[in-house]
């Protein structure tokens, strides 16, 4: 077994530098690497490019990095719910590359699995396809999209073991699996770190080969963006 455990978030992020490109898992605030984000804020790395489906909210998630003006460029599919983001984007301080959500996921998966590029129908005929190669297959038009290149992937899982194997819970899985192994170094933070042999090898979502560093995260807030409930009497 190849041990991937590190002592904590500081060791996990060693090597992080200004100007790097990071992938960050999560959908909205669900399944985001809270500990890695907090450490990026503490480190104060600047001019970073973030590949993340969303950009957090004003005071949480990637919003924390925006507050400190650490992000040079965001690559996302949807960036609402964040006033600070809007200010920086409109002032030109923040570069934004909007990418269809499925394309974003597959650009990560392509990087993980050694595909340099792929053809997707998403965005054909729209400004997303401008400057990109398009091609017909079986009467349908596709756009050629390239795999991402990134320095670090920061992902968050529910459980993980010393070998770097990961298991996710619910929809907190989202972009995390495709980002594992899609950057030079993948850092996984987990709610519960267990010894090798504790996870059923059949239930592993991400094999440890895609993870370089793993640690047990602390003090997860797991904020809910849209708390929607029904009353018991309505049922």
């Amino acid at each position: 077994m190849i041990r991937k455990t590190v002592s904590g978030v500081q060791e996990a992020l060693s090597g992080v530098q200004d100007g790097m490109t990071f992938m960050l898992g999560g959908f909205g605030l669900c399944g985001i690497p809270e500990n890695a984000i907090a450490e990026l804020v503490r480190l104060g790395v600047k001019d970073i490019t973030c590949i993340s489906n969303n950009a957090g909210v004003d005071d949480f998630g990637l919003g924390l990095l925006l507050q400190k003006h650490q992000i040079k460029k965001m690559i996302s599919s949807y960036v609402g719910e964040n006033d600070e983001f809007e200010r920086q984007m409109l002032s030109g301080a923040l570069e934004v590359e909007l990418t269809p959500q499925g394309t974003l996921a597959e650009k990560c998966r392509a990087a993980q699995a050694g595909f340099p590029a792929f053809y997707t129908p998403a965005g054909y005929g729209t400004e997303v396809a401008e400057g990109k190669e398009t091609r017909e297959f079986n009467g349908k038009m596709y756009v050629l999209e390239q795999a991402y290149e990134a320095d670090f992937s920061f992902v968050k899982a529910w459980k993980g073991d010393e070998a770097g194997n990961l298991i996710f819970k619910g929809t907190a899985r989202n972009f995390n699996p495709a980002m594992c192994g899609a950057a030079r170094i993948t850092v996984a933070e987990v709610e519960e770190l267990v010894p090798a042999g504790s996870l059923d090898p059949n239930h592993v979502h991400v094999p440890g080969i895609f993870v370089q560093r793993i640690f047990q995260g602390k003090a997860y807030e797991k904020r809910i963006e849209q708390r929607t409930v029904r009353k018991k009497e309505d049922a």
Binding site: F27, L29, C30, T103, G125, G170, A172, A178, H205, I224
Partner: protein, 218 residues
Amino acid sequence: MLDKNGIAKRIAKEVKDGYYVNLGIGIPTLVANFVRDDIQVEFQSENGVLGMGPFPFEGEEDADIINAGKQTITTLPGASFFDSATSFGMIRGQHVHLTILGAMEVSEKGDIANWKIPGKMVKGMGGAMDLVASAENIIVAMMHTNRAGESKLLKQCSLPLTGVGCVKKIVTNLAVLEVTDEGFLLLERAPGTTVEAIRAATEGTLVVPAQVPEMKLD
């Protein structure tokens, strides 16, 4: 003329037994409330869940179980969770039978614009471009005109496109229309709405058959 719930109610009739359905934010989300309960349907949310159920009871919300609108949800027996790449594999591979989403504009060629207004803050397309480029069966749920009273059913979209030639059917507060080679084919009128009112609210080519029945909502 229908309200938002009326539009959702009418669209619910398009949901057939055995369908996997993806619902967009807004009116489409309401459709789930009106689907007949004697047919088998599963709702997919592109953030990674199949078999969505109702909202959780108070106090039972789980931050790890949300839909693409970031709302807390529950799951039904037979549900599954999966990652985003797999989720869009379902969509791109046309395993999801029906996509229902909102729009700012639809053209008579079936083009759709629903993600960007030049000069305004652009939030992004989310999964909409993947959904419209992939689905065999797309229904647009929207008001027939915008707040300024201008038609949203156009000869040509004026806003940046989300997808090209992909919309098959449109349900508005005034009518049910099908996109055909000849233009918007008027299939049904909303209760109490005249063909003339629909014609006046439609900038694109409107094809009006001899008989245009009123919608049946129940």
